[in-house]
């Protein structure tokens, strides 16, 4: 295929990298404002270049829409030749625009939110580094380079969750995220190795996405230890995606990741990084289209996570935890779309979710900022009057996530449900519908507890303009985002399309809107005048289980922390190391020598006559043996 070299492309990730270098090296000496402006403008420039590249891309004739930029050869060994090159097609374009655009707004917001923090320049350095790696991930031309970005964003996520590292709990939340991600990344890298191994056996050493999509059918029939190789690769890559995108069973790090600064939660743990898994699966759609069984796993896991996240989100009291579980649930939605083969719908929801979830998080950040660090929703309430702007933008995002037309969430969510329904999975579709209702409920609950009712805590102050203006822009995107025809733009990723009749389609739309409205109404109904308390009492056992997040953390703690620790302590340390190595081999050899010595020492009685007796006996024997020869 013909490629179009576009050398401006490399500056999309490299301007943020420069921002990182400047802020990382001399940021501490710069005044706070300047460090923030450097950090934000680096992302702003990157966003402008993304727009330029995008304009260049859509001016190309359809079917040739691909820009390339080759930097240098990374690995050259025999037939293997991997170059660092960037790849800008429709999918990358959408992702790059979302990432750099949302990042820019969040950077600007952060100038206000992080004002006065002693790690201000460090914060912007990390955030710039994150955007660099995220853009590398998005623009990567091959799986290997994507993996570099993948690991890089994981690192930045760790650094930013544990940003206030002096707090032990926050530092360990960072470690938890890093370690849980390691499990997924192990899956990713094993999948990569397996893929490259099988392709290498066929004599193919080109791993950029274009040649992969050509050559993947070659290994379609291969099996590995009796399992269909492509299925296995698909599952391993998906394991990587579950780690990064916080899907069951590896979602446990995301709620804890809320320990980081709120803009970080908005940028990394809602809008961009956690959706990397969806992006990666979409990027590899040519592989997944060959193995429908792997897609079924994705569908099931996505659906389960969507329901699980929404259920736990129902009862959380920490404003950020609600949003964290909501994120888990919404990404589950995206995986449902991917699992149904509607990759474009997944990316569409990724984009709209990036907008409205960023608003929700930043709005929550504004509330927390206004209340001087209070995160417990039970101590909020009645903030409507104090924080008009925040209330307005969060209201828009609330309607968007609840799936009320014509806000952004409605279009993407409806499209996902429709493609799941069309794919023939009625149960999954129904679970998705229930999740939609639950989503509407818990977000409404959040809004009600925070902005309506009486004041239960202190009064708040509205955040400065540097925070509210980015919120306003994102809120506009919450409205407008749904009208951007992403699915058409991403035609290639649309997947097999099942036709459903116009009547059914209208019915589905009606049902999903109804689910949203039902959720909202129910929330307003139940949060009034102690009805929630009564429900709590009637369903107390269910309530406890959900409140404790189904005890998943406890189960994991038991299975993966305590058991290995017990094993390491009792078996590896006490039995093997202390017992066999130290006790048996090290002390054992000494004890053998000691015991032999304690037997032999009895010979040295100290009695000279007994020595003489032995001596005489010896002499007699020598004489006997000498004389024997003569006799």
């Amino acid at each position: 295929m013909e490629t179009n070299i576009y050398s401006l492309l490399k500056w999309i990730p490299f301007v943020p990298l420069m921002g990182f270098i400047v802020n990382g090296l001399i940021g501490r000496k710069l005044p706070e404002k300047l460090a923030g402006i450097i950090g934000s403008s680096a992302i702003g420039i990157s966003f402008i270049i993304s727009i330029l590249s995008f304009l260049k891309l859509i001016n190309l004739p359809e079917g040739e829409r691909l820009l390339n930029d080759r930097l240098y050869t990374w690995i050259a060994s025999g037939n293997l030749n991997i170059s660092i090159s960037l790849h800008f097609d429709a999918l990358s374009a959408v992702m790059a625009l979302v990432v750099s655009g949302v990042s820019f707004l969040i950077h600007v917001y952060s100038i206000g939110y992080m004002a006065g923090d002693k790690g201000f320049s460090r914060y912007f350095a990390y955030l710039n580094l994150f955007v660099f790696f995220m853009l590398i991930l998005v623009l990567a031309d091959s799986l290997l380079i994507m993996f570099v970005g993948w690991e890089g964003v994981g690192l930045c996520s760790y650094l930013l969750i544990g940003f206030w590292y002096e707090d032990n709990e926050k530092a360990s939340a960072g470690k938890k995220a890093f370690i849980v991600n390691r499990v997924g990344d192990a899956g990713f890298i094993i999948g990569l190795i397996l893929l490259f191994y099988l392709l290498g056996n066929k004599g193919i050493f080109a791993f950029d996405f274009q040649s992969l999509s050509h050559h993947i059918p070659l290994i379609a029939g291969e099996s590995f230890f009796g399992i269909n190789a492509l299925f296995l690769i698909g599952l391993l890559l998906f394991l990587g995606a579950t780690g990064k995108s916080a899907q069951f069973p590896l979602y446990v790090w995301l709620p804890d990741a809320m320990a980081g600064p709120t803009p970080v939660s908005a940028l990394i743990h809602a809008a961009t990084m956690v959706t990397a898994g969806v992006y990666m699966l979409t990027r590899m759609y040519f592989l997944y289209e060959l193995v429908p069984s792997a897609l079924s796993v994705v569908l099931a896991v996505g659906c389960f996570t969507a329901v699980l996240g929404a259920t736990i989100g129902l009862l959380q009291t920490d404003i950020k935890k609600v949003l964290a579980y909501s994120t888990i649930s919404q990404i589950g939605y995206m995986f449902m779309a991917v699992g149904a083969g509607a990759f474009a719908a997944g990316v569409f929801h990724l984009m709209t979710h990036a907008f409205f979830k960023a608003v929700l998080f930043l709005g929550a950040g504004s509330v927390i900022h206004g209340l001087h660090g209070e995160q417990d929703m039970r101590k909020m309430g009645g903030l409507r009057a104090d924080m008009k702007w925040t209330f307005l933008v969060m209201g828009l995002a609330w309607l968007a996530i609840s799936g009320i037309p014509p806000f952004a969430g409605f279009f993407s969510k409806d499209m996902i449900l429709e493609s799941v329904f069309a794919g023939g999975n009625k149960i999954i579709w129904f679970a998705g519908l229930i999740t939609a209702a639950m989503t509407a409920y818990y977000i409404s609950r959040l809004i009600v507890l925070t902005f309506f009712g009486e004041k239960r805590g202190h009064s708040a102050h509205e955040s400065p303009a540097v925070m509210t203006i980015p919120l306003g822009i994102l809120a506009v995107l919450c409205i407008a985002g749904g009208f951007i025809d992403i699915p058409h733009f991403l035609e290639k990723w649309e997947g097999s399309h099942h036709e459903i009749s116009k009547g059914t389609e209208d019915l589905l739309i009606g049902l999903s809107v109804f689910a949203g409205i039902a959720g909202i109404t129910f929330a307003f109904f139940i949060q009034k005048s102690g009805r929630a308390e009564r429900v709590k009492e009637t369903l107390s056992s269910v309530y406890t289980v959900i409140l404790n997040k189904f005890y998943v953390d406890e189960i994991y703690d038991y299975l993966f922390v305590r058991t290995p620790r017990w094993f390491s302590d009792k078996i590896c340390f006490r039995f093997f190391d202390a017992g066999i190595i130290d006790g048996g081999i090290v002390n054992g050899s000494a004890r053998i020598v000691y015991n032999i010595g304690s037997i032999l020492r009895r010979l040295q009685s100290g009695n000279a006559q007994s020595y003489a007796l032995i001596f005489v006996a010896g002499v007699v024997m020598i004489i006997y043996f000498v004389l024997k020869r003569f006799i």
Binding site: R602, G606, N607, Q609, A612
Partner: protein, 99 residues
């Protein structure tokens, strides 16, 4: 004169020396039995020297006398010191070097 007679006497004397050394307990007596064994050896030297007709055997006897005198001197000195330290001459009780 038959060579066997002094040799036999030497053998008997040596035997008495060994047995006495092994059986008695007094350290002074033990030194005396050591002298007995040395002199049994001297007797053997002398008689064999006479039989073979080589005088060097008798020269050795002179050496042995000198050494025996020195040995007795050192031995008695040790015996006295041991007695001063341990207030005993019984070798069964002198076992400070037991392992």
């Amino acid at each position: 004169m038959l060579t066997q007679v002094p040799l036999f006497l030497s053998f008997v004397l040596f035997g008495i020396g060994v047995i006495g050394f092994l059986l008695r307990r007094n350290i002074i007596i033990l030194l005396m039995f050591i002298e007995l064994m040395l002199n049994a050896a001297n007797l053997a030297f002398v008689s064999l020297s006479k039989t073979i007709g080589d005088m060097s055997g008798q020269v050795y006897v002179m050496f042995i006398f000198a050494i025996a005198a020195a040995e007795a001197g050192v031995g008695l000195a040790i015996a006295i010191l041991i007695y001063r330290q341990l207030k005993t001459t019984d070798v069964d009780k002198i076992n400070n070097l037991r392992g």
